[in-house]
């Protein structure tokens, strides 16, 4: 089962209002986002929810982080990992 896990994110807003995440804290550990590969509206089909989905690269790994309608960031996490 996959669940929504809300995370703390360090992000910047540029002059046009575009939000770019730079780092996220997941289970107490901070991960630097090396690159934002894509951003688009999307449903979080595994964990549920909807918002702006950022496809990001953290080290060698590519993953999604979502910004929901309440301006909260979340990731989809496999429940067994917890």
């Amino acid at each position: 089962m996959t669940v929504r896990t809300y995370v703390q994110v360090i992000a910047t807003f540029n002059k046009e209002g575009v939000i770019t995440p730079h780092a996220l804290t997941f289970h107490g550990k901070q991960y630097i986002i090396d690159r934002v590969l894509d951003r688009r509206a999307a449903a979080a089909s595994k964990a549920g929810g909807q918002g702006i989905r950022y496809t990001v690269r953290i080290g060698e790994k590519q993953t999604y982080i979502f910004l929901d309608e309440k301006q909260r960031w979340f990731v989809e996490e496999k429940d067994s990992v917890r």
């Binding site: 089962m1 996959t2 688009r40 509206a41 999307a42 449903a43 979080a44 089909s45 595994k46 964990a47 549920g48 929810g49 909807q50 309608e69």
Partner: protein, 415 residues
């Protein structure tokens, strides 16, 4: 030839709930009102619930009898409105002619779009799924009536094309009741003439239909033969609103005039506010009541000067209440409607020379501004704030705009 799409979000309320809780997918799910507030009916259901025979509008206890495993969820109105806006934003990337029909359905006129109707329908379905997690069914046709029938034909997540070549095969065998604006009583009247399918309507003598149903008979004949020329309204254009109304079933039976008055104040406030939002004035004011033993009655009055002021509406509504209710039988539901509408710019200042009313107009416009900014409960009339039998002002004062109004006012579609 026009290219009209009708897009219908499948099981809209239930689908939005499933977006937020994927564990619900595939299970019998129903969104229902609050039984403790006496709103305990099914508002929407998933496909799995539909297969169990659950119907929109039935009581929760009936639904539970049909499906003991039914998962009941409270509605999240704001979330549905948000999703409705998001899907319309997707539509607006293809056309500015978008006419909503309730929160979950819209017509789109995509005539002359280089992609063509079928390709746009495919893109809408793909985007709705990816971006919102919803499925939509799209009817593609050359008029609004057939486009809507097309979207109803295959669900979920399907495109159905109704063309001038195939409409006789696809549409005509359908029961007459499937046609837009045909209700149960019309079906009954038509069946007296042996008219049971849409094809029967199309092939009937137009004079017979006119004799049977008057102007509506002419309209249905045109609809059934694919001759509907009703345009799709451009985004922002108002549809031809016939009336603005609001009704409520409070959590208690109304057995005294004080409670009746404060409920009618709230209803009149909400109706007046929506009239002003649409820059409309109305000349006919109607009161609708339903007693605890479910008998309904409606009384109306026409006034010389059209109004959109709660002050004026409540004055007439209270007179109608006194004339139509003896207070011996408690009331279960009450409603207020204003009809015979005209646009604001048609109001000559000579027609409304009543200076005291200008003060009320200013006051009510100020209330609108406060409510827009801080919510409907930010400012209330003193008489509506009684604590013993509290009313949820947010429930009564539906502060919805255009699209949802149609769902509330007489064009109610099962969502």
């Amino acid at each position: 030839m026009r290219t009209i799409l009708h897009s219908d979000c499948n099981n809209f309320y239930a689908s939005v709930e499933c977006v937020y809780d994927p564990a619900l997918r595939g299970k019998p799910v129903a969104v229902c009102g609050d039984p403790s507030a006496r709103h305990g009916i099914i508002l929407a259901k998933s496909d799995a619930a539909k297969r169990c025979g659950i119907k929109t509008g039935e009581a929760i206890w009936e639904a539970r009898q049909k499906c003991p495993d039914l998962i009941l969820l409270a509605p999240h109105g704001e979330q549905y409105i948000r999703f409705s806006k998001m899907i319309r934003r997707i539509y607006s990337e293809y056309t500015d002619r978008i006419e909503p029909f309730g929160l979950d359905e819209s017509w789109l006129d995509v005539t002359n779009h280089p992609l063509g109707g079928v390709e746009i329908a495919s893109r809408l379905r793909k985007r709705a799924k990816e971006e919102l997690g919803l499925t939509v069914s799209v009817g593609v046709s050359f008029n609004k009536v057939f486009a809507k029938l097309g979207s109803d034909m295959h669900k979920p997540d399907a495109t159905t094309v109704i063309s001038p070549e195939n409409f006789r095969d696809k549409i005509w065998p359908l029961p007459a009741g499937e046609l837009l604006f045909i209700g149960r009583s019309t079906v009954k009247r038509l069946s007296h003439y042996g008219i049971r399918t849409i094809g029967d309507i199309a092939c009937a003598n137009p004079n017979t239909l006119h004799a049977c149903l008057g102007k509506n008979g002419d309209m249905l004949y045109a609809y059934a033969n694919g001759l509907d020329v009703d345009p799709v309204m451009r985004a922002g254009e108002s549809s031809d609103v016939k009336s603005v109304s609001n009704s409520t079933t409070p959590p208690f039976d109304v057995d005294n005039e004080t409670d009746a008055r404060r409920i009618l104040y709230l209803l009149s406030d909400s109706v007046a506010s929506r009239l002003r939002e649409q820059q409309l004035y109305g000349r006919t004011i109607s009161l609708w009541v339903r007693s605890a033993d479910l008998h309904s009655c409606e009384r109306q009055v026409s006034i010389p000067t059209p109004t959109n002021l709660s002050k004026v509406i409540t004055r007439h509504i209270f007179s109608l209440l006194q004339a139509s209710w003896d207070m011996r039988s408690p009331l279960r539901s009450l409603g207020v409607r204003v009809s015979d509408l005209s646009l604001a710019q048609q109001q000559s200042p000579i027609l409304s020379p009543d200076p005291p009313l200008h003060r009320y107009e200013k006051a009510e416009c100020a209330m609108d501004a406060i409510r827009r900014r801080f919510g409907v409960s930010a400012i209330q009339r003193g008489c509506t704030m009684q604590q013993q039998r509290p009313l949820q002002i947010e429930d009564i004062h539906h502060n919805f705009s255009g699209a949802n109004m149609s769902a509330i006012h007489g064009r109610g579609e099962g969502i």
